[in-house]
């Protein structure tokens, strides 16, 4: 690790500002994600440019309050125009958003170039943000010197928390079922614009420090991660706040640490915050407890192996039934079932361990326990074949593959019902006997 420069006075404030900003953004972001308006944050931060320009032209100063108001008003206009074009022009939501924010951005560019050529409105600052520079501009509050950005973002976070607490029930209802919301008397339009106001204020307050695209990262990525991990709105809010705070801390630390491994000084904290949040999202998408990609894959593999085990015991049963041989060669079984060598070995071991299979050199045979499992399986298969032929009216050539699928999911009750439904036959459509139900499972 190279030189790791750390300075509490600077880095402490940077991390605090980053965390507060991430919290403020992710809090409103939860509702954007739930209401499928994720791209609105992106649109608003791009569209504020004309607001900044007009505020500057009107007040002829770079003082931040008029700029803030101008930007927030244009942000709200973006939401309003998008909604209006979507509704009255019947344009798809994404498209109307695209139309509005690109137009406003272009308008802002023209205004800036045309009227305020000389002003230092740094477009890089809008895009990339400068959270590293926030500790340099400090204000004195209650005897503590703190960065101005920290103060503003804390106020915005407070506002967001208060509004969301006050309108929690309304926001929840409008996000999940806006028809119900309007039928019980909340106006979804009002709730929509309250939320949009919050988004606009948060975006404008944040993009100075983390940059416009990173506002989107903080608004969307932590809530999306929380969405994967939780199933209740309140839990989602809490988890997304934790993730947001964590990606703020992780972002700044990695902005300092990672480049130093390659011999550079440090890089953009805002950029690394987005990368950190993205990494956390990837982790959640892969390892989420309920429907993570890894968990689902694991379940799929287990299911596949279980079916293979079923197939092995059923094959041994049929060999015994047709040829009278109790034993069969492992290799032969593997070739008949066309299965993967590794999977076969794993399943064989598992069946031996469970006492359903017995092995003697290369030969394997069913134990009593295995015989029980196999007999019920074959019974399911043949009952299904008869049922599909009689009751469903499937073509005889197509009953086998269907029964092959169903046999793995058929339990005792269902077998009983099938048996009754097809008038208790003794043989299946192919002429093989349907074995009787074995009730008691033999001990190991």
């Amino acid at each position: 690790m190279g030189d790791f420069n750390w300075n509490w006075q600077l880095d402490g404030w940077i991390i605090l500002t980053a965390v507060i900003c991430a919290l403020a953004c992710s809090l409103v972001g939860n509702f954007l994600v739930l209401r499928r308006m994720s791209m609105l944050g992106d649109a608003i931060t791009h569209a504020v440019l004309p607001g900044l320009a007009v505020a500057f032209v009107v007040t002829e100063s770079r003082s931040s309050f008029p700029m803030f108001v101008g930007a927030a008003v244009v942000g709200l206009c973006t939401a309003f125009f998008t909604e209006w074009i979507r509704k009255s022009g019947r344009v798809d939501e994404g498209a109307s958003l695209g139309v509005v924010f690109t137009t406003l951005f272009a308008l802002g560019l023209v205004l800036i170039v045309h009227w305020i050529d000389r002003v230092d409105l740094d477009a890089n600052c809008v895009l990339y943000g400068s959270i590293e520079l926030t500790p340099l501009e400090q204000v004195n509050i209650l005897g503590i010197r703190m960065p101005r950005a920290f103060l503003i973002l804390s106020a915005v976070l407070g506002l967001n928390t208060i509004v969301i607490t006050l309108f929690y029930k309304e926001l929840k209802l409008a996000s999940f079922d806006s028809v119900l919301a309007s039928s019980v008397g909340f106006s979804p339009a009002t709730i929509h614009y309250v939320l949009m106001t919050l988004v606009a204020i948060t975006a404008v307050a944040s993009f100075e420090s983390v940059g416009s695209v990173l506002v989107v990262a903080m608004m969307i990525v932590p809530p999306a991660t929380a969405f994967l991990l939780t199933r209740r709105l309140f839990q989602m809010l809490v988890v997304s706040a934790l993730i947001a705070a964590f990606s703020g801390i992780l972002g700044h630390l990695s902005a300092i640490a990672v480049p130093s491994w390659f011999g550079f000084r440090s890089t953009s904290t805002a950029g690394m915050m987005a990368v950190a949040a993205g990494s956390l999202f990837t982790l959640a998408a892969v390892f989420a407890p309920h429907d993570g990609i890894a968990i689902r894959l694991w379940h799929q593999i287990l299911l596949g192996l279980n079916i293979l085990a079923d197939d092995i015991v059923a094959l041994l049963y049929r060999v015994e039934e047709k040829q009278g041989r109790k034993e069969a060669e492992s290799r032969w079984i593997r070739e008949v079932l066309l299965c993967n060598r590794l999977a076969f070995i794993a399943v064989k071991r598992w069946l031996l361990f469970r006492g359903e299979l017995r092995s003697n050199a290369n030969q394997i045979s069913l134990t009593e326990r295995g015989h029980h499992r196999a007999q019920n399986l074959v019974r399911s298969h043949r009952l299904w074949e008869q049922y599909l032929l009689d009751e469903v009216g499937l073509d005889p050539s197509r009953i086998h593959p269907q029964a092959e699928k169903m046999e793995h999911y058929t339990d005792r009750d269902l077998r009983e019902k099938l048996h009754q439904a097809i008038d208790n036959p003794d043989i299946d459509p192919h002429g093989s006997p349907i074995p009787v139900e074995l009730s008691k499972r033999p001990k190991k």
Partner: protein, 489 residues
């Protein structure tokens, strides 16, 4: 420790740079306009051709992304190209190659752009995250990574990232012949893809499942479409800048949608708007050098969109409100005739001999006086009624029409009662909604269903509104005897 952004080119500087280049084209704006229009200037020709080609291709590709409800895909993709540009810059510096070689940077941009598309598709298909959130995640995380890499590049001894800025803001005015060739090749590529696979893309846009069932490789087609968005985004990035790419991919297509319901003509219109915006935007910016061309292209596009939104011939606001007004008028006229019929029904004198007062009509339905008098005026013009003072009488033509309408209304009511199990008190309103759109075939079918009412007008299955109104009037008259009732005494 602190990444400085001091090295980067600020916006006014960038624009001044552009302006300077543009100012070198001509002397005064008129002279310039003349030179521009006569294509005398090589530089102008290059810029105009480049932006026109780009606008056309983006307009066509945009139609398909719009119809697949992926209008903002271009936004995500063009942001996702930034890390690729930065990485290839770093690689080139590391191996000592020319770090600003265009093919290398574009290759890097393409790789991360494609990765971005794949990431969106993976997130959308294998998690419960919705498409818009997937777009936002990919857009912001990839761009964040790009910014982090740029932060490193800025510290490199010989590497100053200024050249990379043009990929974000565009450098339309300083386009050179090789850029135009690149844009033209890429645009032609996307254009021929869209036109060659027009039928397949059409099916993909309107009924993906059906396309799959007919054996079209929908996934491959989808990926190829996304691929052409990537190509458009990448060549567009340096031609018009990031935001302008998004604009040209979305706005022409959205504007074209107002004019037509046919995919072929929508594509043509969108291509025209894209081309026109490219030409006019860069021409305006060439005449008035202070206007940045990328922004002018977008604003011209937005102008086209606004015009289309207002006067578009299929879905424009004006045409839709006219259609709605006509519909309302025809419905009001039909209601009027049916009310006339119901008021004169069941009395000995034939319909054409009875006179009805406007006051009575006013009570029979809930309509405001203005609406009623407008409807009466239009009915008089259509020769459905004749008007004598405040009395109204149906003409022969009006009577036939009124009988037909009432019959349809009641047939529908009977159908609802007998076959759809509606309560008699509710059928009137339901029938009110549907009677105006009943076609002759449906009426014939209804007649067959309700064969007992073959040729006559069936009786109304419920109490008519004007009976209720008459009852009300009578009770009022009993309560306070009026002049006329006293006379009768």
């Amino acid at each position: 420790m602190i990444a400085s952004s001091g090295n980067s080119l600020s916006l006014p500087e960038f624009v001044q740079h552009t302006t300077h280049l543009l100012a070198s084209i001509g002397l005064s704006s008129w002279e310039q306009a003349y030179r521009l229009l006569s294509f005398q200037d090589h530089n102008t020709r290059v810029v105009l051709l480049g932006t026109a080609m780009f606008g056309c291709a983006a307009g066509i590709v945009g139609v398909f992304t719009l119809l697949r409800k992926r209008a903002l895909m271009g936004d995500a993709i063009s942001h996702a190209t930034l890390p690729g540009i930065a990485i290839s810059f770093l690689i080139a510096t590391h191996f000592g190659w020319n770090e600003k070689s265009l093919p290398l940077l574009l290759a890097g941009a393409t790789i991360t752009g494609v990765l971005g598309v794949l990431a969106i598709l993976v997130v959308r298909n294998s998690t419960k995250i919705k498409e818009d959130t997937a777009l936002g995640i990919v857009l912001s995380v990839f761009f964040g990574a790009g910014i982090a890499l740029l932060g490193i590049i800025q510290q490199m001894p010989l590497g100053h990232a200024a050249g990379l800025e043009s990929f974000i803001f565009g450098k339309t005015a300083s386009m050179i012949s090789s850029d135009t060739v690149l844009i033209s090749v890429a645009s032609l590529l996307c254009l021929s893809f869209c036109l060659f696979f027009f039928k397949e893309l059409k099916l993909l846009c309107f009924d993906e499942t059906f396309a799959g069932s007919r054996g079209y490789p929908t996934t491959t087609l989808d990926l190829m479409l996304m691929g052409s968005v990537v190509v458009i985004s990448i060549v567009g990035l340096q031609a018009v800048g990031l935001i302008m790419v998004v604009a040209l991919l979305v706005i022409p297509a959205a504007a074209a949608r107002f004019w037509t319901d046919k995919l072929g003509s929508m594509t043509a219109i969108s291509a025209c708007i894209g081309t026109l915006s490219g030409i006019c935007g860069s021409a305006l910016s060439a005449i008035y050098p202070r206007l940045p061309s990328g922004a002018m292209i977008v604003l011209f596009c937005a102008g086209c969109f606004t015009v289309s939104l207002a006067v578009g011939s299929r879905r424009g606001l004006i045409i839709r409100s006219i259609r709605r007004m006509r519909m309302n008028r025809s419905i009001a006229g039909q209601h009027f005739l049916r009310t006339m019929f119901e008021l004169t029904e069941g009395q000995e004198a034939s319909l054409e001999q009875q006179e009805i007062s406007i006051e009575k009509l006013n009570f029979a339905r809930t309509w405001n006086p203005r609406e009623l008098s407008d409807t009466i005026r239009r009915a008089t013009n259509a020769e459905w009624i004749t008007r004598i003072g405040s009395q109204i009488r149906l003409t022969k033509k009006g009577r036939i029409e009124a009988e037909r309408l009432t019959r349809e209304h009641r047939l529908w009511e009977l159908f609802l009662i007998h076959h759809a199990d509606f309560a008699p008190s509710r059928v009137d309103r339901e029938a009110d909604h549907i009677e105006h759109v009943l076609e002759p075939e449906i009426v014939a079918e209804l007649e067959a269903l309700l064969s007992e009412n073959q040729k006559t007008i069936p009786q109304s299955p419920h109490l008519l509104a004007h009976h209720v109104a008459e009852d009300e009037m009578q009770t009022r008259q009993h309560a306070e005897p009026t002049h006329s009732s006293r006379n009768r005494e």
